[in-house]
């Protein structure tokens, strides 16, 4: 007996995507735009002009209460109680073994209110874990997945575009900050965050207002070349920027230290937190002998490495595995992120190749990221 697969969920902007002729894809149970036209053109638009994304599949969870900050300190690896109102922080939620359950952005909306944004595929796991871990902290954990649509405008032209539609003080809004305001006449939480390596904004708003804001951004951005962008270019943008993706660089078998992101773990924060013991051990191990390191690889040829492909040394021995790979529109060559044995992780290491379906293709080991915007 097999059940029919559940019907994919559609965002409040579904009709817009279809009117634009988007190629849709199933992503974590959501039907999302993969691309509208050429994903390479969409990628380039974000790097040089601006791109408009529907990210409404992301999972929002609110924590509200006088000790909500302490609840998050206990539940997550970061010290969220120290976050200033109006600021955001990249952090992670781990299991007791130190394995990553998800990577998150947490916004402090008020003294007693935080907004946690989880990956769509992990939102239920995160919601369940937060609910369990916040008990005893006088904190309400609210599933706000249905309460928000999320629209991102990313790229160097995005501040100018958004300024035409809001009275909010965007010049005063720093990277990784968020403030309530209005966009195109409707209320929104305006955050200067993103997953592209460019300047940009993420707008959390009521689903009923999503089409209005999408249309206003489309119109305001048209003169400077804003285009709608799908998840395909979001993936190549984040890969060039060296940003990890859950399920690829980050898994429940990976600690933040394995991923080279030990800095998000605040071992010096007061009190116990879930995973502390395991993460203290992982930290000590990372200081002495780290078994593997996340590196960047740049192809000398044109064949594209894919997640799961083996990284091999000159003698043919397997030294690691590709976690993400794609043709890089900015570099004009295939690139990958891979975990490799630490002795092969130094930039410029000779003789490293990727086994691409039986053929060894030479790759250059580089430090991440592949791309960093000029500020």
């Amino acid at each position: 007996m097999t059940d029919a697969p559940p019907t994919p969920r559609r965002t409040a902007l579904d009709a817009r995507h279809r009117a634009l002729g988007a190629t849709m894809t199933d992503f974590a149970g959501w039907e999302m735009p993969l691309r509208y036209g050429s994903e390479r053109d969409e990628h380039t638009a974000v790097r040089t002009r601006a791109g408009l994304f529907d990210l409404s599949h992301m999972g929002e969870i609110s924590l509200i209460g006088p000790r909500a900050g302490q609840a998050l300190d206990h539940a997550l690896v970061g010290r969220l109680s120290a976050l200033a109102v109006g600021r955001a922080r990249y952090t992670m939620i781990c299991d007791t073994e130190g394995g990553i359950l998800d990577d998150l952005i947490v916004y402090r909306l008020g003294d007693e209110e935080f907004l946690v944004v989880a990956n769509a595929a992990n939102a239920q796991v995160v919601l369940d874990a937060l609910t369990e871990r916040a008990s005893g902290f006088e904190t309400a954990v609210r599933d706000d997945r249905e309460a928000y649509a999320l629209i991102a405008v990313q790229g160097p032209e995005s501040p100018g575009i958004l300024k035409r539609l809001t009275d909010a003080d965007l010049d005063g809004l720093k990277y990784y900050a968020g403030l309530p305001g209005t966009v195109a006449g409707v209320p929104a939480m305006i955050a200067r965050t993103g997953y592209t390596g460019e300047d940009g904004f993420e707008l959390f708003l009521a689903p009923d207002d999503a089409e209005r804001v999408w249309d206003a951004l489309t119109e305001a951005g048209a003169p400077v070349g804003l285009v709608p962008c799908g998840l395909s270019c979001r993936d190549t943008l984040r890969l060039e920027a060296g940003m990890p993706l859950y399920g690829h660089e980050l898994t429940s078998d990976t600690t933040p230290f394995d991923a080279g992101l030990g800095r998000v773990v605040k071992l010096d924060k007061p009190g116990d937190f879930v995973g502390r013991q395991a993460l203290e051990a992982a930290s000590r191990q990372a200081d002495t002998v780290s078994p593997r390191t996340l590196v960047g690889l740049i192809a000398e040829g044109r064949r594209v490495p894919r997640a799961g492909y083996a990284v091999v040394a000159a003698d043919g021995s397997r030294i690691g595995q590709v976690t993400s790979g794609a043709p890089s529109p900015t570099l004009g060559k295939p690139i990958a992120m891979a975990y490799v044995d630490v002795e092969y992780a130094k930039p410029g290491t000779e003789g490293v190749s990727v086994d691409i379906r039986g053929t060894r293709e030479p790759y250059e080991v580089v430090a991440l990221p592949f791309y960093r915007r000029e500020r």
Binding site: E39, S232, V304, A326, P327
Partner: protein, 126 residues
């Protein structure tokens, strides 16, 4: 999209031109397939002089998100490959039925199940 009437099509989304005086047909992938792949970034084609067999893989096409096998729609000897498309794989997307052709085959054997343009259109849209 419209699939040219003078071509025939495989269910693996290749097209095949009518043979010229030397019995050579040109092969490419359809616009439907090119759109499904997204931006093609790498094309691996069979060697000139090699034999390809109908229904078997003879190369691959890589796009941003995936890699797909290229199937030979007919059996025969490869007489020419499109060097332009090797150097600029985006031709597969921009002109799948013209400048984005892939290779030419001196046809030895042609399967009966190749489709007409109308049959292929119905197949692809289904």
């Amino acid at each position: 999209m419209s699939n040219p009437q003078q071509l025939r099509y495989s269910k693996e989304h290749e097209w095949l031109s009518a043979a010229d005086a030397d019995g050579v047909s040109t092969i490419g992938i359809t616009e439907f397939a090119a759109n499904a792949l997204g931006d093609v970034v790498y094309v691996q084609l069979p060697d000139v002089g090699s034999a390809v067999t109908a229904g078997e893989t003879c190369g691959e096409l890589e796009s941003t998100k995936s890699v797909s096998d290229l199937y030979a729609p007919v059996s025969g000897e490869v007489t020419e490959i499109n060097e332009d498309v090797v150097n600029d794989p985006a031709l597969v997307n921009s002109a799948p039925f013209e400048g984005g052709w892939l290779f030419k085959v001196r046809v030895a054997n042609e399967p009966e199940e190749l489709l007409s343009a109308d049959e292929y259109t119905a197949f692809a849209e289904n």
